[in-house]
């Protein structure tokens, strides 16, 4: 119905206007036909406003149909010869008007409910599709072409949906080579697996990837979802850098001092070094140890300042 009527004409005033015009035309037509003693045929035109009113307004449309029936009956009484057969036929037609209106109103209510349900479901889907914090890309498993991508996928890859749609996923968003697809070629399950998502300008985005084989609208598709784990990876790298620096500046130097002390001890045993040289060498090792302790404190403080989940008491202890 919406397709048949132009968008600007589907508003309530336009509908009421159309029904009013049709009612006037019917009134005039009824008068002309009844006064010229024509009882049938023109009454079929009543179905047009009745069906429209019942479809558009449901129960109120039935009331409109009842009004038309009353108008028709009144016209029959007023403008045609009073005949029992004519009265009975007119009453039957009037009842039929109301019956048709009732059936159309019931069907219309059912259709509207279904439409509302479909619209609500579509709105929910659109809302999730647009706002979910996971990139979703739909892929045709036969051709490996991208069917659709949500805005988060656009944000993560830097490509627009238009860029992606129709493109083969290999070497575009997926680093796997053609013929080596983990899902369709190797039969693997990808469920929250750490993978790389290729983005614009060769950027590689670490992501948790899940692929679900699904059927949508009778068509088999792969639903690929990606959760960006760049912040997790960055945090991991920071932790690794911290551990690396901690090892470089504390553990390894302690081993070095241990070896130096052994060297000094051997120097003393073999009387290689003068007492002054040994004293200086020991002072150097003592200073090394002081600096190693200082390094350790610096690293502890760095942890305490950066990690908010550390309890206050422990933070104070680490920053002492």
């Amino acid at each position: 119905m919406k397709c048949l009527i132009r968008e600007e004409w589907t508003g309530t005033p336009a509908k009421i206007g159309l029904l009013a015009v049709l009612t006037i035309i019917l009134a005039v037509l009824t008068y002309v036909c009844l006064t010229s003693n024509t009882q049938v045929l023109f009454t079929h035109l009543y179905y047009i406003p009745i069906i429209l009113a019942a479809y558009w307004y449901g129960r109120r449309g039935v009331l409109y149909a009842a009004g038309l029936a009353v108008m028709y009956l009144f016209a029959v009484f007023a403008f045609s010869s009073v005949d029992t057969q004519i009265i009975l036929a007119a009453s039957g037609r009037a009842l039929f008007f109301i019956g048709i209106a009732l059936v159309i109103a019931l069907l219309s209510t059912a259709i509207h409910r279904q439409q509302e349900s479909v619209t609500r479901s579509e709105e929910q889907f659109r809302g999730i599709w647009k706002n979910i914090q996971a990139a979703i890309i739909l892929v045709d498993p036969e051709t490996h072409t991208i069917i659709s991508a949500n805005p988060e996928a656009e944000r993560l890859t830097g490509f627009t949906q238009e860029d992606m749609t129709g493109h083969i996923c290999h070497d575009f968003i997926c680093p796997a080579n053609r013929g080596n697809c983990p899902i369709t070629d190797r039969g693997l399950t990808v469920d929250r697996t750490e993978r790389i998502l290729l983005a614009r300008e060769g950027k590689k985005v670490p992501a948790l990837k899940t692929v679900t084989d699904a059927t949508l609208g009778g068509r088999r598709i792969l639903i690929e979802s990606f959760i960006d784990i760049t912040p997790v990876k960055e945090a991991e790298n920071v932790l690794l850098a911290y551990l690396r620096e901690a090892t470089l500046r504390t553990r390894n130097p302690v081993e070095l001092v241990r070896d130096n002390l052994r060297e000094i001890r051997e120097g003393l045993k073999d009387q290689q070094s003068t007492p002054d040289a040994v004293a200086t060498a020991l002072a150097v090792q003592e200073r090394h140890m002081d600096d190693i302790v200082h390094n350790l404190q610096e690293l502890e403080q760095a942890v305490a300042e950066k990690r908010t989940e550390i309890p206050e008491a422990l933070r104070e202890y680490l920053q002492r």
Binding site: P253, D259, A281, V284, H288
Partner: protein, 187 residues
């Protein structure tokens, strides 16, 4: 990996990795190998052990310390006083004062201009006690650039397994050659 050898005209930057147990013995072997060339002067940047101690140690191991110049970055820092002057030695106040160390290296190289020289950094690991790995990388890059400009050979000493792969990769990239001494062998 290469066997350590050096010639008079050598201009390579060598990263020498030694096991900690044989570190000093391998250092002595390298210096002896350098002195075998006859004309090369050695400049040792000491950060790990004081120059006086190293001088005694080298002398006892038959090394001619007259052809070795020390840049001692640790003694003054450790003792807190200005050390007694030592022949062929220049003291730097702190091992983490990389600018002062850079100036000292430049000055000494100028002093021995015209002579064939080898710079010996003892050791990368000890420098990490006093300097962050980032600053150390910058300093080593500076020293290597300086050596390359002046066509001077350099040896960066480090204890094997005492450096993490990231720093080791950086140093290997800076260096021309990598010499790895095997465990338990000082030859």
């Amino acid at each position: 990996m290469a066997v350590f050898s050096i010639s008079e005209d050598d201009k390579r930057i060598i990263l020498a990795l030694s096991p900690s147990r044989t570190y000093r013995e391998n250092t002595v072997r390298m210096i002896q190998e350098i002195q075998r060339t006859g004309s090369l002067r050695i400049i040792v940047i000491c950060v790990n052990q004081p120059a006086a101690f190293l001088k005694d140690f080298y002398t006892k191991n038959g090394i001619d310390t007259n052809r070795i110049f020390f840049i001692d970055a640790i003694t003054q820092y450790a003792t807190g006083t200005t050390p007694a002057p030592l022949d062929n030695c220049r003291f730097v106040s702190k091992p983490n004062d990389l600018t002062a160390m850079g100036i000292a290296v430049t000055t000494i190289l100028k002093q021995f201009e015209g002579e064939r020289t080898v710079i010996f950094l003892d050791s990368v690991n000890a420098m990490l006690i006093h300097t962050s790995s980032v600053d150390l990388s910058k300093f080593i890059h500076f020293i290597i650039s300086k050596l390359r400009i002046l066509n001077i050979a350099g040896i960066l000493l480090a204890v094997e397994k005492g450096l993490d792969p990231v720093l080791l990769t950086q140093l290997t990239t800076f260096a021309d050659d990598l010499v790895e001494f095997p465990e338990g062998n000082t030859s």
